[in-house]
């Protein structure tokens, strides 16, 4: 068995790379920049006493997600044109699950399309798994985070991923029910970000808020980011990774090739630029100063929206989508914390969940895809909200019974670094009181 798995599955590799494969390989190699950016951003947004656990956890979560997807997720998700389970209902055939062999068996690595899709997915699943990890910062145990990443990568992500990117029933809404071109999500605003955002909401509800965040009396306590330089550097790093995600996604899932592909990075930049400036302006008006962490989250919210719209709308529409995402982000973050009692240190629910949903809806409104596209997008949004979110909550609720998510009181008091890793992230760090004396 093991020998069979280890035997190479690439029987006839051409000696030279064609242009398409070369483009895919270059973009694939740039994808992990998004993971790195998000990991550093999440670490900066958390507390200093949990920084090492946060960053190590990011590495572990990406690793576990990749392996779990390789073991099981791939067989559920499959690839366009691959074997699948379907049944007829009404006037249409509904493709619910792929029927691929696990461990990448059966995939032809010398066939550019299935190989590129499979390679894209194994990176994308890691990004999706990183999103809830940031929301559980300062209280989520490393082992439990890895177990949750395995569940996400083996079950939740591949299921929705097949429907969107594996020629599943959501992608077929256009052919079967004349709803535009079917549910469109070239860069993963829904399949990666909204899915990750809703999973983060499920996690936050299960694991609870950080101790002291919501006191018995008075408003919620502000627990500021411990290193805003990490946060802003993470934004810049993530931007490079996002360019690769959006461009490769547009090529693989929207069928865009040639010079038109150059519009994708331009739209990505416009979207993020509009969002960060809108977030800055709204934060300045709402809170008196343009809070740096809100602006950083605005930038990422723009990137999330670009994952939906960058490939399929005009530059002006991309800018507009980003501005809306950025302008609403500070209000959404405030609403979730003050009105909904949600303690989300990384802001993932607002940034990835809400902005991802807006991006999918904006694509339906602003693209020139055939009539009915908005309804197709609404069906996809409804599936994320009505099926993926309850599924994630149920799976995490059960997992929490087996592997308790939350650390104990002592762990939260001394910080996750000392409690779980035995050493702090900044062992020689000293706070000088005079640095904090008002001048």
């Amino acid at each position: 068995m093991i020998a069979t798995l280890l035997v190479t599955v690439v029987p006839n590799v051409p000696a030279t790379l064609d242009a398409t494969s070369a483009l895919c390989v270059v973009l694939l190699c740039a994808l992990p920049l998004a993971h790195a950016g998000l990991a550093i951003l999440n670490t900066g947004l958390g507390r200093s006493r949990s920084a090492a656990q946060s960053l190590l956890g990011s590495l572990c979560v990406v690793a576990v997600a990749a392996i779990a997807w390789f073991f099981l997720g791939f067989s559920i998700q499959g690839y366009p044109g691959g074997p699948l389970h379907s049944f007829a209902a009404g006037s249409a055939s509904w493709d619910w699950l792929a029927n691929c062999s696990p461990f990448f068996r059966g995939i032809q690595w010398n066939d550019a399309r299935p190989a590129s899709v499979a390679a894209f997915q194994i990176f994308a699943v890691g990004l999706a798994a990183l999103i809830p990890w940031g929301s559980g910062a300062d209280r989520w145990r490393l082992g439990a985070g890895c177990a949750a990443a395995a569940v996400l990568a083996a079950l939740i992500y591949p299921l929705f991923g097949h429907w969107v990117w594996g020629d599943g029933w959501l992608a077929q809404l256009g052919a079967n029910f004349h709803l535009g071109s079917g549910f469109a999500d070239p860069g993963g605003a829904g399949a990666i970000h909204a899915l990750g955002g809703f999973t983060a909401l499920a996690l936050v509800w299960i694991v609870g808020s950080r101790r002291g965040k919501f006191p018995r009396q008075g408003p919620p306590a502000a627990i500021p980011a411990h290193n805003i330089v990490y946060v802003l550097f993470g934004c810049m790093l993530a931007f490079a990774g996002w360019l690769a995600f959006n461009t490769l996604g547009a090529f693989l899932f929207a069928g865009i090739a040639g010079p038109t592909l150059m519009l994708v990075p331009v739209n990505t930049l416009l979207c993020a630029s509009g969002a960060v400036l809108a977030a800055l302006l709204v934060a300045r008006i709402r809170f008196g100063k343009p809070d740096a962490s809100i602006c950083a989250n605005g930038w990422v919210a723009g990137l999330v929206v670009s994952s939906a719209v960058a490939a399929l709308v005009s530059p002006a529409a991309a800018l507009f989508s980003g501005i809306v995402a950025g302008a609403t982000l500070p209000l959404t973050v405030e609403f979730l914390e003050l009105r909904c009692g949600i303690d989300d240190p990384s802001g993932a629910i607002a940034v990835h969940g809400v902005s991802g949903i807006w991006g999918l809806f904006a694509l339906g409104l602003l693209s020139r895809l055939p009539a009915g596209q908005t309804v197709a997008q609404l069906v996809g949004i409804g599936t994320l909200l009505g099926l993926v979110f309850p599924l994630a909550y149920g799976a995490y609720w059960l997992l929490n019974r087996v592997v308790p998510f939350r650390t104990d009181r002592e762990g939260e008091r001394i910080g996750m670094d000392l409690h779980e890793l035995g050493a702090g992230a900044y062992p020689e760090f000293a706070i000088h009181n005079d640095e904090f004396i008002p001048r």
Binding site: W94, S209, R210, C340, G341, L385, G386, L387, P390, G394
Partner: protein, 59 residues
């Protein structure tokens, strides 16, 4: 109450799916897709309110 919220979320999704599978005309499908989404939003509000009741007191 949170369970009821999740029940409504799932019911809203079923309404959408059934509308696509069963209803014959585009207009009817659109109406029921929007209705299903409305049920999901009510479910989400219910689940959020249920969570809100248990927040606080962790000093």
């Amino acid at each position: 109450m949170k369970l009821a919220g999740f029940g409504l979320l799932f019911s809203g999704w079923l309404i959408m799916i059934m509308a696509l599978a069963v209803l014959p005309t585009h207009g009817e499908r659109v109406a029921f897709v929007i209705a299903g989404l409305g049920v999901e939003i009510i479910g989400l509000v219910l689940a959020v309110r249920a969570h809100r009741e248990h927040v606080g007191g962790q000093d």
